[in-house]
């Protein structure tokens, strides 16, 4: 700073002298000082330019950041917290549904089933699913006791064996009795801490604005990630795509959304296996919420009695 002040003082002196004499300086020292002055002047000019350039760049960047952050005022995690909240609210329910399996040749098989579900705790739930048809699956059932959203016990009952069998939970992503839905699809909401969430964009599905969230499991699952289109106003998944590495292997649509007892509910779910071209349609026939079933409906005894 002191050097610069000295140079500026010298500059002013030289400027005064030059103005008085109107002549260039032959003194090399002065000439040097003049050239230094020019350099300094250039330096000052270029410095301001740099300063303003940098200021401009930062300013633009700041504007961009501000604009973008105000466009996604919510994170992917926050979207799923809302989805989780809705799914938790809907845990006390009874649903009768029809499931139609379509193979790629057009052949179809029909199942009817009833699902009983109960919220057991802030982080626990119980589910009983029993098949009503076809004859081969009549009274076949499975029971889930979730101690937390990530810790579950599963049982299956096959009337032909008259035995309740415990099932390892690594089957949760497997096909549910030949359909394109998985056992996990019939369970309650997952533990959010088991996943990474990333909000990708916003997009409309059937005119409904949605957040598109990419969900990546932290633990090993059949899928490497899935993308879900979550309706902004309903906090309901309207579309979902499951990936194995970079290719979609399963995709689903959730349609015919109706509000039942204050809970948005898709009455038609279509799931397709993109690799095998097999498709499943699940149509809800009857839905009741806030059912408050007793605990003894979710026992092995009840499983053996087909929920009766």
């Amino acid at each position: 700073m002191k050097g610069l002040t000295a140079m500026r003082t010298a500059e002013r002196g030289l400027q005064s002298e030059c103005q008085a004499r109107k002549c260039p300086h032959r003194d090399p020292v002065v000439a040097d000082m003049i050239s230094s002055r020019s350099f300094l002047g250039d330096l000052r000019v270029s410095g301001f330019k740099i300063f303003f350039t940098v200021l401009s760049v930062f300013g633009v960047a700041a504007v961009i950041i501000l604009l973008s952050s105000s466009a996604y005022a919510i994170s992917g995690r926050q979207v799923y917290e809302k989805v989780h909240e809705l799914r938790s609210k809907s845990l006390d329910r009874e649903i009768e549904s029809t499931m139609i399996l379509f193979d790629k040749n057009g052949g179809k098989r029909t199942r009817t089933l009833v699902e009983f579900s109960k919220k057991a705790d802030p982080e626990a739930y119980k589910v009983l699913v029993v098949f009503k048809s076809p004859p081969d699956l009549k009274n076949v059932g499975f029971l889930i006791h979730a101690h937390t959203f990530s810790d579950r016990d599963l049982w299956a009952y096959f009337p032909e064996n008259k035995r309740v069998r415990r099932i390892a939970t690594n089957s949760q992503d497997d096909s549910f009795f030949g359909s394109d839905l998985s056992y996990d699809d019939f369970g309650g909401p997952p533990n959010l801490d088991d996943y990474h969430f990333s909000l990708l964009k916003e997009e409309a599905i059937d005119g409904k604005p949605c957040y598109v969230v990419e969900v990546t499991p932290k633990i090993h699952r059949k899928y490497t990630k899935y993308r879900a289109w979550v309706a902004k106003d309903l906090w309901l998944q309207l579309k979902i795509e499951y990936y194995q590495d970079d290719s979609i292997y399963r995709s689903g649509l959730f349609q015919d959304v109706r509000v039942i007892d204050g809970i948005p509910t898709p009455f038609k779910i279509e799931m397709e296996n993109r690799k095998t071209k097999h498709r499943t349609e699940l149509t809800l026939e009857r839905v009741h919420y806030h059912t408050h079933f007793p605990d003894d409906l979710f026992t092995q005894r009840s499983l053996e009695r087909a929920g009766k």
């Binding site: 004859p135 009549k138 032909e160 064996n161 008259k162 069998r165 415990r166 096909s175």
Partner: protein
């Protein structure tokens, strides 16, 4: 005549019980529910000189009705049994609870017929019932309440072999505990095939039938234990649900597993035929069995274990020691006593492992320890069965395949079975099963060495 009265009384009792319930309010979803199936079956044989079976057509009808706290259930089975020789030995229509040898075709049988009353945590059930205690597959050690029908022994699945028994049961569920008690007031014997039927296995009687075409085997029906309280069976089971589910079982009653006593070999020429009484009769002994079973999930495995200690169980000595003459000529030959009393300990462990989606591997190992001197028995001190089954579903379970092998290392006998089912529609499926048996003639699987075959089956359900 006695069995007809027994069946009639049981049906009358159940009807009265059902009709005595409070005036029902019948809702649409509690109306009578009827389901059933038809099963058409035929076989092609590996061994040309083995006993043949005719194609069979069998069916079942199930009725279920629920009114208030009462439930009625019946399972009626019947048809034309291709195993039974023509003309059938027994011309009665209904299977009864009084005879061991019931080769009747056509036939009817109530596999199950009971009424259940549920009141809170208590279920009371009376009628013809089948139970499934224990955890292991194929040969559950604590599953002693129902005798088996051995007429199609290793062809039929386990539950289809069971004979329903008239019984009363009570089940109390309290939180994680289940208490079950069963009383079987009348003794129900197992059923055996005739020696000229395909699944009689290798025995002296069947050997005679195969080698002497004009031999007529006269098997003696045993005198059953008197139908009184002292001869009933009582069983209890206490089960606890939890991370490890476990149960304790207690059985006191007649051993449902076949064992024989001897009389005398009798050979009587009768014109062109030879009448032969092979000289062995089913014997019945009371046993007590204490057992436990457990199940848990650990990692990717669903594990099951079971054990049962049987007191005063009777086993037969080796057939070569029964005292049959080397050259059987017409006459009467007293035979040796063939029963020995032993305590036995049965135990086993099994596990399910999901290999891949729709691919389940089940493995099981079980052993029987026979206490005391086993020198005269065919069985060794320790008998082992190793068993594995691979079940795979294809094309979203439109095709279902199973490969099953069982092996007894002590005697080297083994069984292999592979089947494939194709589901044409929700109501109709068809399948093929290949079976093969190897081993010594007195071993569990080896006695059916002549029974290698390919079955074709079509099932229509509604």
């Amino acid at each position: 005549m006695r069995h007809k009265k027994s069946v009639a009384l049981i049906l009358l009792g159940i009807s009265l019980l059902y009709l005595s319930c409070p005036a029902p309010i019948i809702h649409a979803d509690e109306a009578l529910n009827v389901s059933g199936r038809l099963d058409l079956r035929g076989a092609v044989y590996q061994e040309n000189d083995s006993v043949k079976e005719a194609p069979g057509l069998e069916g079942r009808i199930k009725l279920d009705s629920e009114v208030s706290s009462w439930r009625f259930h019946s399972w009626l089975e019947g048809g034309w049994d291709g195993m039974v020789k023509r003309p059938p030995r027994d011309h009665s229509l209904f299977k009864n609870y009084d005879e061991i040898y019931q080769s009747n075709s056509p036939y009817l049988e109530f596999k199950e017929l009971y009424v259940t009353h549920s009141s809170g945590a208590l279920d009371l059930r009376a009628g013809i019932q089948r139970f499934a205690w224990g955890r292991l597959d194929e040969y559950p050690l604590n599953d002693l309440l129902n005798p088996w029908d051995y007429t199609q022994f290793l062809r039929k699945p386990l539950e289809d072999r069971k004979i329903g028994v008239p019984s009363v049961s009570a089940t109390l569920n309290k939180n994680d505990w289940t208490y079950e008690a069963v009383w079987v007031p009348v003794f129900v014997p197992y059923r055996l095939p005739m020696p000229d039927e395909r699944w009689s296995g290798s025995s002296l009687a069947s050997l005679i039938v195969q080698t002497l075409p004009n031999a007529k085997i006269e098997l003696q029906e045993p005198v059953l234990p008197d139908r009184k309280i002292e001869n009933s069976s009582v069983c209890m089971r206490i089960k606890h649900a939890g991370d490890i589910e476990w149960a304790l079982n207690l059985f006191h009653g007649y051993d449902p597993r076949p064992v024989f006593r001897t009389t005398a070999l009798t050979i009587i020429p009768q014109g062109d035929a030879i009448l032969i009484d092979p000289g062995y009769i089913p014997a019945f002994h009371r046993i007590s069995a204490v057992g436990m079973d457990a199940a848990a999930v650990r990692g990717d495995l669903s594990i099951r274990a079971e054990a049962a200690y049987s007191f005063n169980r009777y086993l037969n000595i080796r057939q070569e020691l029964w005292g049959y003459p080397v050259v059987p000529l017409p006459g009467t030959y007293p035979l040796n006593p063939i029963e020995q009393e032993h305590d036995t300990l049965d135990y086993g462990i099994g596990a399910d492992h999901r290999l891949f989606e729709d691919g389940l591997l089940t493995m099981q190992a079980q052993q029987t320890i026979i206490f005391g001197n086993v020198e005269l028995l065919y069985e060794r001190k320790i008998e082992t069965i190793l068993w594995a089954n691979l079940k795979v579903g294809w094309m979203n379970q439109k095709i279902d395949t199973n490969v099953n092998i069982a092996y007894n290392p002590e005697h080297g006998d083994r069984m292999a079975r592979a089947n494939a089912w194709y589901v044409f529609s929700d109501a109709f499926k068809a399948g093929i099963t290949v079976r093969t048996f190897h081993g010594p003639s007195q071993s569990l699987f080896g006695r059916f060495s002549q029974n290698d075959q390919v079955d074709a089956e079509a099932i229509y359900s509604w």
